[in-house]
């Protein structure tokens, strides 16, 4: 795979460096030491920036989750409240119900996205006239803002301006003039699901396409000589060799789906009632609308733990093993 090719070009680079060197430039260990010092200096900005936007919120959330901090009662003291915020989050705030919704949404979405994404990747992998057009057509939905895909599908599902109702009505008059968003729970989810998948399947397809492209051709030739059918070589060659790419796509999509927010905010605002209130939306509501940073902080910590568990699986499967 591509990683191996890089390894090969990367190794002689580092191996052949510190040998012959004359003149004013520092030699051997001295050079390495100055290099290293400069290296830390060059890496510092990225670390400072990323720590500021991740470690700081993490610590602050952790602190807040054990304290009382609500701007609505700004004068109340920021007392230590123990696990009270977590208890509130898990009981009255409806975090568990949101977790269930989010997990079901995630499971359905990633299975669907990966299956359709794989089919798309196989299409894109083929050499044919109009491949560029197909690739551009697939990339554009991925590249536009999530809000655009959400607004766009919100418009499409609106019986007064969209085409969904118009076409469904042509097939089956009884289906026409259906209100999709915020009228029925199931239809709201369908609309969210369509908007989300329409935007994200292309990403899965691109990742899987890259995976397909690094499978050597002679493996297929060998399978063909052995008399394997298309399905057999797909099952025995493509799928196993696609495993790394599949895992990357799965893990990215899993995390994105667990944290889905924009689409829900724009399309339903969590409604009807609270039936599409996913984890991220509930957290947003506690932070920005209720300005309750204690309970919100507790929710964030639980969200981070959830994301960490998933990422840990990823890092474990794909530990960067290049330089060390």
């Amino acid at each position: 795979m591509a990683a191996e090719a890089k390894e090969v070009t990367g190794r002689p680079a580092s191996a052949g460096r510190p040998v012959r060197r004359r003149g004013p430039a520092p030699v051997g260990h001295a050079r390495e030491r100055t290099d290293r010092r400069l290296g830390y200096l060059l890496v510092a900005p990225v670390l400072v920036l990323l720590l500021a936007v991740t470690a700081y919120p993490l610590v602050f959330n952790l602190w807040n989750s054990f304290h009382n901090d609500n701007l609505t009662f700004a004068n109340a003291p920021h007392n230590f409240v123990g696990l009270q915020n977590y208890r509130t989050a898990l009981t009255t705030a409806g975090w568990v119900a949101s977790l269930e919704r989010t997990l079901i949404f995630t499971a359905v979405t990633i299975v669907f996205d990966v299956v359709v994404g794989l089919a798309l990747a196989l299409m894109l992998h083929r050499n044919f006239r109009g491949r560029g057009l197909l690739r551009a057509a697939v990339l554009i939905p991925w590249a536009v803002p999530t809000v655009v895909s959400a607004m766009l599908w919100k418009t499409m599902f609106d019986p007064r301006t969209g085409f969904v109702d118009y076409f469904l009505g042509a097939f089956h008059p009884a289906w026409s003039s259906l209100t999709w968003l915020n009228a029925s729970v199931a239809r709201s989810w369908v609309a969210i699901f369509v908007a989300d998948s329409w935007k994200n399947i292309p990403f899965v397809a691109i990742i899987l396409l890259a995976g397909l492209q690094v499978i050597p051709k002679d493996v297929y030739e060998a399978a063909k000589i052995d008399g394997a059918s298309w399905w057999q070589s797909f099952r025995r060659v493509t799928l196993p060799m696609l495993r790394p790419a599949l895992s990357v796509a799965l893990i990215f999509r899993t995390l994105q789906a667990l944290l889905v927010f924009d689409v829900v905010y724009v399309m339903t605002g969590g409604g009807p009632g609270t039936s599409t209130q996913v984890l991220a939306y509930l957290n947003f509501k506690y932070f920005i609308i209720n300005t309750d940073f204690g309970v919100g902080g507790a929710m964030s910590i639980m969200l981070i733990v959830l994301a960490l568990i998933v990422s840990a699986i990823y890092v474990r499967t794909f530990r960067p093993q290049a330089s060390g």
Partner: protein, 299 residues
């Protein structure tokens, strides 16, 4: 589809000239049908918003159907005129451009030097640093909202677009740093070694030798960063409150809604405008985007 690999490697034309293979014709037809379906599903919604944006207010209020079907009988540019003459969308558009471009600039500089150091300078703990950068990219955005809100409130920076430039680096830096680190690793080190042997310092080497060679990689990182920064909604909706401070994605969610009617033609004109820069980038740089996405996510 069984001939996928065969047509890719052998010469298909001579085969098809020799005999008429019905199965193959059916497979080919089905394949192109599938391509057409995919292109339609991907692009038809865009046609539809373009269509709606070209309707008059009266046509929009009439609903879909009749003279306002898939191809409307009349077109009107009133919505587009409104978008470009009123201030409701132009200011957010400018805000978005400022933030996305500035964030891209910061990202490119910071990720390039870090990527170079990680690829070449033999610092200790490279694996740990890369692991942290990767994890930061997976950090739940919603979990940052609360603490950053309080911090910015304390510093009186709420409802201000400039802090977003720094905050958006959480989207752009992880993928850009990884991508550029991989890119620098692929550049043969002989060039640098020659310059170093001639007595150049590392920084001179970086500026005069490495950066010029690295332009394609930097460009890819810049394109991805711009798209990611342009697309944010979560931070904008949490921190911005006044209309003239909105970014474009935030603005379209409230745009075109009056007390009495939702002006879908206005909304859709705005949606078209906000998608145009992205669509252009995709059309001109699709290969780069694809290679960047995969280089940043593999390994």
């Amino acid at each position: 589809m069984s001939s996928v690999t065969a047509t890719a490697t052998s010469v298909p034309r001579t085969v098809s000239r020799r005999r008429w293979d019905t199965g193959k014709v059916i497979r080919e037809t089905l394949f192109y049908l599938a391509v057409v379906v995919v292109v339609l599903v991907a692009l038809f919604p865009f046609y539809w918003i373009l269509r709606t944006s070209l309707l008059s207010n009266y046509q929009v209020s009439q609903g879909v159907g009749g003279a306002n079907g898939v191809i409307p009988s009349h077109l009107s540019f009133s919505a587009w005129e409104n978008v470009f003459t009123q201030d409701g969308f132009l200011t957010p558009l400018r805000n978005s451009l400022i933030v996305a471009l500035a964030c891209t600039a910061v990202t490119v500089v910071v990720a390039s030097i870090a990527g170079y150091a990680l690829a070449r300078l033999k610092i200790r703990g490279v694996a740990a640093i890369l692991g942290f950068i990767l994890l930061a990219g997976f950090f739940p955005v919603l979990a940052m909202i609360g603490p950053l809100f309080l911090l910015m409130r304390h510093l009186d920076l709420l409802d201000n677009i400039y802090p977003l430039i720094i905050i958006y680096t959480v989207y752009t830096l992880p993928i850009s740093t990884w991508l550029l680190k991989n890119f620098f690793e692929q550049i043969p080190a002989e060039l640098e070694d020659a310059a170093l042997t001639d007595g150049a310092t590392r920084l001179q080497v970086l500026r005069k030798v490495v950066i010029p060679v690295a332009v394609p990689g930097v460009f890819t990182a810049a394109i991805l960063s711009f798209i990611l920064a342009w697309n944010d909604f979560t931070f904008a909706v949490s921190f911005l409150t006044s209309l003239n401070k909105f970014t474009a994605p935030l603005a379209i969610t409230t745009y075109g809604e009056s007390q009495f009617q939702v002006f879908y033609n206005l909304i859709d004109a705005a949606v078209v405008i906000i998608s145009i820069p992205i669509a252009l980038i995709v059309l001109f740089a699709q290969r780069r985007i694809v290679s960047g996405l995969t280089a940043g996510s593999f390994r």
